[in-house]
Symmetry: C2
Subunit: 450 residues, 2 copies
């Protein structure tokens, strides 16, 4: 056994029972998104590195899987004694679904002005594998391009909330913030504009590293403890305060700052819209929410749940990204569900019912029955919509029945010479043990009756 | 516009209308395969190169997309002045679905003895793109492992035939041959054993390059014209001969050769089984069928159609491949549908009906209606199963309606202040122009009535 039979690190095989659960979730997401008028697109797994590089920050660039040049191109690259990574690849694997969407929008000017698309595909990151974190994992994105209206924000939040509710999961909250508001809060804390990006990255980790961790990280970057304390006081929500109170607190803290007031007004309007959507009762204002990615420009969202530490998905408005590909700006807002984490939570909470997988019935047969007759019987049952597996060999009946039980079939259909002569089947229910001789049509009806 | 917005060469974006057709075909394949008791698996896009290399022949190895090492591993590799391709990558993209299945079977000894799996996923080959040939393309594989019974061959052929028939495509024939029979025919033509592999590869191209091409190619390899002529006479089917006659002709030509007779007996039995399956009337014996891949050991199949030059799919028995991973042998037989080519044929023959995509209704609204009221109306319609898009802004009504028409919606629901006050919608049919004021429930019922 010279060759390893395991998938590579951070990659997974999906066996039927798990795949059926994944499909169930995918179908629920698709059906829900389609009710909101979203249409599906798919993009290639491989993108030009020029499309991907510089969109995810330095850390993201390092996590890209790059495709090695082939043949002449590789030979030429290796002739250079100073050869480096950038000379060896100009293609890479998709890192997320947002950048490919931006490229696709720019490439297809004939698309509807308000393009509402959903996309459910794997992405790849050369990250350290961990709980719910893989190197190949699925994302489920929903985006609306072409409008600055808050209806777009409300629609993606409502669609995501409805997905979770339709999956039977209600213990979640969509945290809402606004990138401009957060920037104003950073400024109000006395932090210089040049340190804004560093501060955003540190605040993004607040959940993981706590207030002390943020203070420490910012201190190393030359931001004073007083400034960090001021910022944390501004962004952390006081206990027992409701949404209206929190919005008022922020408005007072930033009184006179037009940009901040505009952002707070947007959040206030968004809350009103969400009260009339499926996200009603499932959102909260969280001025400490930062979101890591650089491209957000307006409201930002993140799904949190006490059933999972970390985020179950997130998104926001990114009005500049498509313009990087198209030249002219197209506003956009999107929300991405962390599919693997959602699956983990649904499994842990036992929210998957019994999902059938595999044949309804296994045809067991004896040596004295022609294989052609067995195929004919199988064909007949299948025409009536029954899922049929034929036991391919003819050992003792007990062995055939034990196999049918082991794969979870509910029935066996036994064919001996007498059954075959009259085109009958002895249909046996593997739970009750009940057995009856029936013709093909009757047998199919009996199986379908459940 | 610095960055290209096109997908890389040989890769494709799928916009909604095309994706809906692809999904329709995938769903038909899934439903059909499940009726045969097949269960789904998925394997990772990235495999260890040690899994992939040496399974597809030298040409296949050269078509693999390899993943460039990262960070330290890359730095170390580039320190070596003699660095070559093999030092720069140990991962590659999936080239087909058969080798990953063999690895998966070896890695999961708990799987059913007769594992009937289907798998529909993309594969990647750094091939020259052409008509129906891409660098990222989908394969639809169905395989049965664990049995040497011809029932397995018959089941995969029947399942594939039923897929084509269910898609409305009946102009196809499954060509059948047997790897052992073909080897005996090569020997009977006087060609040395050491030239067998070369001859198989040349015969595989008979369809593309014709008899003269095969003669020329084999001559260059030192095989005499007399030998090639003898081989072509043996493998080419005389005009007007039926299956029984063709099997008899082959039997006579190889009389006394036990191995050949055993292979012909298997083909004869397989024909009997197929006559009782969905492949009845859709198969023929073709002793010139070779199949390129080295791992086949028994019956081999290929789908041909006068609607497409080349193959629409193929497969066969490969009893040795899983043993390369597992140590002990597990017999197996499989059939792969060329998804992209099938799609091309279905499109050319107009076999796709109208496949709906996008919202049923667009809600058009005026400035004097609160956005929250619009969201409430949308939410109501969606609860009744209607696919609803909200026009996100409030330009003149004509513009909103023109947009709804442009995206193919059948209805618009107009909300002015008077409708909003009474929770009504003015529902307009965009085909007939008919318009009615209805409450949300009535509007949903009207839309769903179609």
């Amino acid at each position: 056994m010279a060759i390893s039979t395991k998938p590579p690190s951070g990659m997974r095989d999906f066996l039927p029972a798990e795949l059926v659960r994944r499909r169930f979730v995918v179908n629920t997401i698709q059906q829900t998104y389609e009710k909101y008028g979203f249409v599906p697109v798919e993009t290639p797994s491989i993108e030009n590195l020029s499309t991907l590089l510089g969109k995810y920050g330095d850390e993201g660039d390092q996590l890209l899987f790059r495709i090695l040049h082939r043949r002449d191109k590789l030979v030429r690259a290796l002739e250079n004694p100073e050869v480096s990574e950038k000379d060896l690849a100009d293609l890479g694997l998709r890192y997320d679904l947002t950048v490919p969407l931006a490229r696709l929008i720019a490439n297809n000017p004939e698309l509807p002005k308000f393009f509402k698309r959903y996309q459910i595909q794997p992405v790849w990151r050369a990250d350290r594998p961990g709980r719910g974190r893989f190197r190949e994992f699925w994302q489920c994105d929903v985006d609306i391009t072409g409008s600055k209206s808050l209806i777009a924000e409300a629609e993606v939040c409502s669609a995501v909330a409805e997905v979770l509710l339709n999956l039977g999961f209600s213990n979640f909250e969509i945290h809402l913030n606004h990138r401009q508001l957060l920037k104003c809060l950073i400024k109000a804390a006395g932090i210089e504009l040049e340190n804004e990006a560093i501060t955003l990255v540190a605040v993004d980790k607040l959940d993981k590293i706590g207030a002390e961790g943020v203070e420490k990280e910012l201190e190393q970057r030359g931001i004073s403890a007083a400034q960090t304390t001021a910022l944390l006081k501004l962004i952390q929500r006081p206990c027992g305060i409701d949404e209206t109170g929190e919005l008022l607190r922020l408005k007072n803290a930033l009184a006179g700052n037009d940009e901040a007031v505009a952002a707070i007004t947007q959040l206030t309007e968004l809350c009103l819209l969400l009260n009339n959507s499926k996200a009603a009762g499932h959102y909260s204002i969280d001025a400490s929410l930062a979101r890591g990615l650089g491209y957000y420009t307006g409201p930002i969202f993140e799904i949190r749940s006490s059933d999972f530490s970390g985020s179950l998905g997130g998104g926001g408005r990114y009005d500049g990204l498509i313009g990087m590909f198209k030249g002219s700006e197209i506003p956009a807002v999107g929300f991405s569900i962390g599919f693997e984490r959602l699956l983990l939570v649904l499994e842990e909470k036992g929210l998957f019912g019994t999902l059938a997988c595999g044949p309804d019935v296994v045809i067991c047969h004896f040596d004295d029955v022609a294989d052609a007759a067995v195929l004919e019987a199988a064909s007949n049952l299948r025409e009536h919509g029954v899922k049929v597996e034929i036991y391919p060999e003819t050992p003792k009946l007990g062995k055939q029945i034990a196999y049918a039980e082991s794969i979870g079939a509910a029935w066996v259909a036994i064919m001996g010479a007498s059954e075959a002569a009259e085109k009958l089947l002895s249909l046996k229910n593997l739970t009750s043990g009940e057995q009856q001789q029936l013709n093909y049509k009757e047998a199919a009806e009996r199986i379908n009756r459940r």
